[in-house]
Each structure stands twice: as C-alpha cells, then as structure tokens.
Symmetry: C2
Subunit: 122 residues, 2 copies
DNA sequence: TAACCATATTCCTGTTGCGGTATATGAAAA
DNA sequence: TTTTCATATACCGCAACAGGAATATGGTTA
C-alpha cells in the first residue's frame, strides 16, 4: 500500500522537514544542510531513504544533486502534500524552515558555500 | 510535533486499517478482530499504541472496550483523517474493511461471538 | 595527472517497534 | 466464590531505523 510508504517517510522529523521544504521547489543537499542545520550525513541518508521510496527524485547538476518532488506525484502523494502544507502553517518549526529557505539565496551567495545553480525558490 | 505522532500511527498497516475503520464510527475490540481478521493480541496492542498517542479514545462497556476517534480531534488530526478517507476510496484493502464492517452486525448476532452493544455503524 | 568539492555509502551502536506465546486483569455469569 | 468472557500486559526474538565517524564516489578544477 503506497499510503503506508508515505506515512513511513513522513514519520521522521528530518524527513518531514525535507518534504515540506520541497513543496516550495527543488533544493540541493547543501541548501538542505543550511536550512535544516543538520550534518551532511544525516541529510544525505534521509534523502536516499525518500528517494528509494519514490517520494523525491534527484538530478545531478555538476557536483551538486538537486532534489525535487516527483513531477507527477500521484493522487495519494498529492493529497498528503496538500495536507502537509495545510498543517505546516501552524507548525512553527516548519514555518521557520520556509523562512530560512527564502533568505537562502543571498546568504549562500555571500558565503564560501557551494554556490550551486539550484533555484532557491523553485 | 503532533504531525509526526500522527504519521507514526499511520505508518503501520494494521493501525491504518484501524483508524480508517473508526472514521465510520466506534468499534469494540472483537469487531476489530472480525473485520481485520487479525489475532486479539495484535489488535489490542495496536489500539494501545494509538491510545497512548491520543489518536483514539477508549470507553469500557461491561466486558467490552469500545474505541473511537477523539471527540474533538484537533486541526492536524482532522486534516489527516479527511485525507485518509479520501485516499481510502482507491485502496481495495480499505474498501474491503468497510464492507466487512457494514455486514458485521448481522454476522456477529448470528454467531457465538461477543454480541457486544457497540454500535456497528457509529 | 592530482587535488578538490559535494554528496553517497559503509560500519557501528543504541533504540524502537512488530509479532507471537503465555499470562494477567477486570467485569459479568453461574 | 468460582468460572467465563473480553481485553490487556509482560516477555522474547527479530528486523528496521536513526545518528555519528570514517571513507568512498564521481564530477570539476588546477
């Protein structure tokens, strides 16, 4: 049942934040690290988890890997993404993530970070 | 984050079926056993899991325990229950459960089952 | 080529959770 | 009171998973 897969993916805090961030558009690993403030291993492993279960797709762009939600998510996933976005409005932690994401592009440009070409707002 | 709790509860097949059944109204343990066709321990333990996490409430009625969704589920839970009901329409296993639930009352009355007074349709 | 960068994978450890067997509880019936 | 019934809990073994440290990979730059 795909439903269970979806819930398995969303029952971890880091993965929930990742998926939520992706509802605002694609992101590369270094941006996840910056927004989530979590170590690279952790982010990378959760992305792999999500990838093998079809919740996200990845595309290589030079040195960077850009992750997005699947182009055509399917009915169940779409419903749950909408539900997540709805609920996220009242979750301070998730709002904060989105805020950090918005401020990301200039922040990264100024630092000696990756400076990758992934769009910062989808 | 209550969101994570909800997903933890729904990421197991048995628990997903339990919650889905409860969207159609309260049910006692023996009815769960009959509809899910799962052993008593399994059902009981998953109900306990859901109970400690606030996804269901229980009320004793004589020998029987009647489980229901919380009377005032809160915004996040409500949203996810609606989402579940929406998705369930395309899940054969969940549709089948509902069908068994509908046919439950006469079935139980005829057998030497519990015959408990829990309403079969909420 | 070598060095470097962003990311992925491997190995480890502790924790959680699932399923089953056996047993305990608590209310009702005999 | 003892039995019976519906349900809950304790204990066990097993598999999945989370997090961290170290290392591997696969592209890019020098």
């Amino acid at each position: 049942m795909q439903l269970i897969r979806i819930h398995e993916c969303l029952c971890d805090r880091t993965r929930l934040r990742i998926i939520h961030l992706l509802t605002a558009g694609p992101l590369c690993v270094c941006h996840f690290q910056a927004v989530l403030r979590e170590p690279q291993v952790k982010v990378s492993k959760h992305l792999a988890y999500l990838r093998t279960r079809g919740l996200v797709v990845a595309e290589r762009r030079g040195n960077w890997m850009v992750y997005s939600l699947p182009p055509r998510p399917g009915r169940e996933l779409s419903a749950h993404l909408a539900c997540l976005q709805d609920c996220a409005r009242e979750e301070p932690a998730l709002r904060r993530d989105l805020e950090r994401r918005r401020r990301l592009a200039p922040e990264v440009a100024g630092a000696d970070h990756c400076g990758c070409g992934a769009p910062a707002r989808g």
